[in-house]
Amino acid sequence: MTDEPGLFKAPPIAEQERMVEALLFATADPMTPAQLAGRMPHGCDPVTALAGLRKRYDGRGVQLVRVGDAWAMRTAPDLGYLMSHEVTETRKLSRAAIETLAIIAYHQPTTRAEIEEIRGVSVSRGTIDQLIELDWVRLGRRRMTPGRPVTFIVTQTFLDHFGLESARDLPGLKELRSAGLLDNRPQPGGEPEEDDGQEQLFGD
């Protein structure tokens, strides 16, 4: 295999297979035998290792494929359908949607009128629909006030997505401020009521 006797003995071929396997798994691009040899200890024979590895992966869910002069690991073509719906494009939620979501999370259960009052602008129908479609918001109990308006609450999916155990774990305003998320602009007339407000939200 190796034409130099070398100072070091090359690792056994099974070990070389392991090396090629790890290298092809971790690198982003297909690798030629020369590139593989450049990474492996002196005296290794990537071509033989590749042949062994190819046999080993024959019929598996992942296969060793040749790409020009180079080699790469690919999922078996017949299983492509499993991955087909995996490709999703993620986009940032709009500011209006984030604010609406934040209000629902902090004030739930809350009505559309309350959201509008807090945001100071009307909430478009699409915004809440989008949040419902994302399964982050759902309808809660109707409010027992005139008109019996529907309320909105956040879902388990929401908690999972944001890594929260419960909506009560959202940091309060004081904590937001100390984390630098709230501008520390001087408050006209002090700020004693904010945390009361917060307390009410979370208080029982």
């Binding site: 790469a72 494009e89 939620l93 999370a105 959202l170 940091p171 998320l181 709230l182 006209p188």
Partner: protein
Amino acid sequence: MSQDTTPESSVADRVAAEALIVDVDGFEGPLDLLLTLSRTQKVDLREISILALARQYLAFVERARQLRLELAADYLVMAAWLAFLKSRLLLPPDPEEDGPSGAELAAHLAFQLERLEAMRKASARLMARDQLGRDFFARGITQDVTRVRRVTYTATLLDLMQGYARIRTRDDFRPFVLDRDNLMTMEDALGSLRKLIGFAGDWTDISSYLPAGWTDDPQRRRTATAATFAASLELVKEGRLELRQSETFAPIQLRAREGRP
């Protein structure tokens, strides 16, 4: 400098002290410094002499003072506490005195040092573990199966909190606006009262002058009463009206002043 004459301030001592003190920047607070000092005792932390440690720490602070170096407040707080602990450990326990004994306090400090040391070692062991992206690796090629495209929307917790903070901050700065719908001004009340007093020949309860629509809702009633009362005072000043009240909290009555229709 008077300190120059004290034996402790020999050049060698000063250099040694300075070396340690310059290091204060490198210490993560008094507990860390205590842990470092404790290593000079070369014993298991569970058998450490807290008394000796307190002396070492106090000597350190004293040297810093001689060198006129400023130590952060928490180092001085710890010094004060250790001085207190030292006195507790040295003096026989006072049966009169409440609170934990010197031995209990010393044991707790020893526990804190041992725990800090343990967490130090744990963090070293943690960081010495094989790490993803350094010792072992995730798949380098994430699959190129871009056929079905579906848009999902995402946001982070940070976005959410910032969004909420943004609204609430804006709220703080919303200019104070009076709710005009439910407020009667004195001008309003004067206007309606002026029109009515011509008919008030006899003493009439002031509350009967509240305009229609301002008497049922308590909030509206309150503002209308105040405005009407203020307006009636204004009319008294103008000499067009007389007011009377038979006793405290009795109904206030008004009538037009004689001869001034």
